[in-house]
Every structure is written in C-alpha cells, then in structure tokens.
Symmetry: C2
Subunit: 163 residues, 2 copies
C-alpha cells in the first residue's frame, strides 16, 4: 500500500516541476493587474519532436486506487494542466532506469499542475472528479516516427493499492 503525499515542489523535484502560482510572481504585467510566474516547466523534446498542446479527458478514479502499470516517455517531458479546480493523483516512480524504482503518490491541489521530466516513470492520468479535463503539453512526434516510439510500459508484478 502506497500513501498519498501532498504535492510540493521540493518533494516532486526528482520527477519534474510543480506548476502553480504560489509565492510572489516573477513579473507583474498588464499594469499590475496580472502576475506572471515565468517559464516554470523544463520542456524537453528530442529526436525531431516538438512541443504541442493537446486536451485529455480521463475517466475519474476513486480511492483506494489499484495501480497495475507505470509508463514513461523516453523522448519527451509531459505537462498536465488541470482545467478544473479539482485535485488529482500524480503517481510516479523513482529512478530513470529500465526498471522503475520506489513508487510515490502525490495529491495535486486545486491550481496545481505538473511537468514530468523526460523518462520519468509515472501512472496514467488519474483525475478523482468529473470531468477529468486537462491540457497537456508534450512531444508531438515528427511524421513517419513509428507509433509507440515514445512509450514504454512496465506492468507491476503485483498491483499496488494507493490510498
């Protein structure tokens, strides 16, 4: 069984960046009416890929959550930006080797997104509430790249319970 930790920048640093508007903004724009927290994600797209914006809508899960598989994207970072103010689960695994290491689960608070480092093992998108809607900034493959070139899956020998 895996406990759920609060999502903080420090705890999440091995896996990527927490994307939120906490602390002072880097800049004030629009005559002081808007704060800008500038360039908060380390976008990293290799092998001819480029950044793109897609929408994901995932079926909400409930707790306890049964984790059977983790995946990763060897060719690009992946940012999940919730389009509703609902918490969601972020499941990651330590280590960047061929086998995932210790699994961790974080609860993203309303107003928090994440950017997963390229090659970070992670669970699939797990909203906890309808509509499960996210904007995703990840790698768009160049034409002709074989499907699946940017996806590795690892099925756990035994499912884990996240609660």
């Amino acid at each position: 069984m895996i406990g759920i930790e609060p999502l903080t920048a420090a705890a999440f640093a091995p896996f990527g960046e927490v994307l939120d508007a906490t602390g002072e903004p880097d800049r004030l724009i629009n005559r002081g009416l808007c704060g800008r927290w500038h360039d908060r994600a380390q976008l990293d797209f290799v092998a001819g890929g480029r950044a793109g914006i897609s929408l994901f809508r995932a079926r909400p899960r409930s707790l306890p959550y049964r984790l059977e598989m983790v995946e990763r994207h060897p060719l690009g970072s992946q940012a999940f930006l919730p389009m509703t103010a609902d918490p969601f689960l972020v499941i990651v695994a330590e280590g960047q080797q061929a086998l995932p290491g210790r699994i961790r689960a974080f609860l993203a608070a309303p107003g928090q997104g994440v950017n997963l480092r390229r090659g970070c093992w992670h669970g699939v998108l797990t909203p906890l509430h309808e509509p499960g809607l996210f904007a995703v900034v990840d790698r768009i493959a160049p034409e002709g790249e074989p499907p699946g070139a940017n996806l590795e899956e690892f099925w756990l020998p035994e499912p884990l319970t996240v609660a």
Copy 2:
C-alpha cells in the same frame, strides 16, 4: 459598445484555435479510459524563442468591461488555458496590420482555452471570476533579447464598452 459572442472554433478561426475537448477524441489512450484531442494549437515561435509554460493570475473583471488597449506579440503565439471551470472573456481585433481592425469579444465557456495566433491583436487576460488562474504557453525569449521586443500596444482613441 461591443456585444459578447459565444466562443466557437469557426468564429474564432481568424484569430487562432479554441482548445477544448468537444467532439470525438483523435485517439483513445490508457486502455480506453482517456481521450486525446491531439495537437490542437498552432504553436509559432520565431527569432530564437522557444515554447514555455508560465502561470498567470489576473484580477477578475466585471461586465460591462471598459476596453482601453489591445496588444499583440509579433514573435509568438500565446495560449491561455484556464485552470478553473470558469468562463472568461477573450477580446481580439480583426486584421494583422499595424492598426487593429474591428474588435470582437468572445465568452470562453468552462473547459475552453484559446491559442492566439502570432501577431493577433487582443485584449489583456480578462477572467470574470476568482482566482483568475491560467496556464500560458507562449514564447520564451532568448537571453539578451531586449525587453518588449515581443509586445506592441495600441491604445484606442476612445475606450469601448464590452457587455
């Protein structure tokens, strides 16, 4: 006075893309549990810039809204992805010339973001509700670029009322 139109892909096409998860997804992923509306924004960053993710938090406005200025970014597209399910105003102007053309105002529904084409004249970010929180995908300037190289402003001869 400018009336407010619903935000649809067809009406907004001259200005950029509506980013939402309507219609059938382009792909089903995660064993059918997640739809992917793939690569929906025309990201366009020139002159050494690159894509980045920033967070904006803007003070909510109320209607009628007094529009005094439009701006544009000659060096890059700019996507606004709301992180709450609240509608917000999207004000744009027709034409890509040095002087903005006819001004239009759209109401983005919950679950809708926009990507503004490079060079599109637009009003500053105008949420209508707290917390006014958005993820923004726009151009990150290369080091050494003069501040303001990617910003032009046009002050209207007379303020317009948007309602």
